[in-house]
Amino acid sequence: MAEVNTGGGGGGGKHAKKRAKKSSTRIDMTPMVDLAFLLLTFFVLTSTFSKPKVMEIPFPKDVDDHTKDTKVNNAVTFILTKDDGVYYYNGQFYPPDNKDGKPATTLTKTNWGPEGVHKLLLDRNKRTIDAIKKLEERRLNKEISDTTYQRLAIAEQGRRGDPSKGVEAALTVLIKTDDKAVYKNVVDLIDEIKVANIGIYAVVDMMPKELELLNAANK
């Protein structure tokens, strides 16, 4: 460690000559170099970490128009509630005693784990995901340009589908929250949506009948 040697410098202790008391100090600098490089590394690393990342989210024009009867071709609606709770139902909402005679919609509970929302979206949007994977391969093989890939991928995500040919439409997602859901829940859901290559999704208001169902399910 640091040693202060008086009377003749380190290593000269053996030559015990009578000299004027000249104290020369020799400090071993190695720990100080370690410290300096540690500080340096710290500053270099912290200056790069502070860039926050973003998610780009397009929102629909009518955010508060929940009365619009969205003609859903292939949709799943998620309802986010307190304590990270998430429910979903497929297709259009049918209240009990609806005039179309369809069975009443029920909410299915799911979770944020890999077997929940993640798996559900990947399964439901399989056709689109596979199509986009094929497009990606073509792009990597230089068969199509990047811009063509973008254009075709977006077209896939917006695919209308053709029931007569057995081609289903691309999955679209509606995100509804009650007054107890937190921001993190919505971000997590949008994250899963993007991972599942779903291009059309919207945050919309809940209908009163949905709220009734939710409260019943939450009890």
Binding site: M32, V33, F37, V44, V54, E56, Y183
Partner: protein
Amino acid sequence: MAEVNTGKGGAPTLDMTPMVDLAFLLVTFFMLTATSRVTEPVVVDTPSSNQDKLLPENVIVVSVDARGRSFFTVNNPEVRKNTLDRMGKQYNITFTEEEKKKFGGMSSIGVDIKQLKQYINMSDADRVAADRKAGGIPLDSVDNQLGNWIQFARIAERTQAKEQKERAERLGREFKDKPLRFAIKADSKTNFLQVKDVIKVFTKKEIFIFNLITNLEQTAKKE
């Protein structure tokens, strides 16, 4: 210079002093070149996501903390000063050049426009206390200050971009126009309805595409 001490019995020793000088020089360099972050008035713990697009430089950021208070900032000091000027005209408040300059160097603000003059003139310590008590920028339909801030910031930014373009053309230089983007930075625990209110403010101003600021998630590989 460096003298390797050999031979005098035992292991060779290297005089480390110049290396320490070098190390501290580098530390000082990095400390100075790292852009000093202005202290944010509010701590926002953003949720994590898998998306890794970087936040663009030219951006208006509305931060919402866990209590639901809204804060507004725009990155460019000139645009800030210009925006403050326009806000002042709208609400009949005059800001001195000194106050405008101070405002240009600040980051997010979350106070009502009526208290803004006072806020700018406070000392840094007082401001910290004021931030804790501040109510955020009002965005109710009666007095949509947040909407006004956003609108004037947009106008100010476009004016500045036009000036820069003209200047570049006069000098024969190229001008790359970076369009203004909009971002929402909300805390994980913020009630989503409050974020929805901020989104409504944006959509009422005909802004439909914005970024949600998150931090990069460290996830295991999802198949």
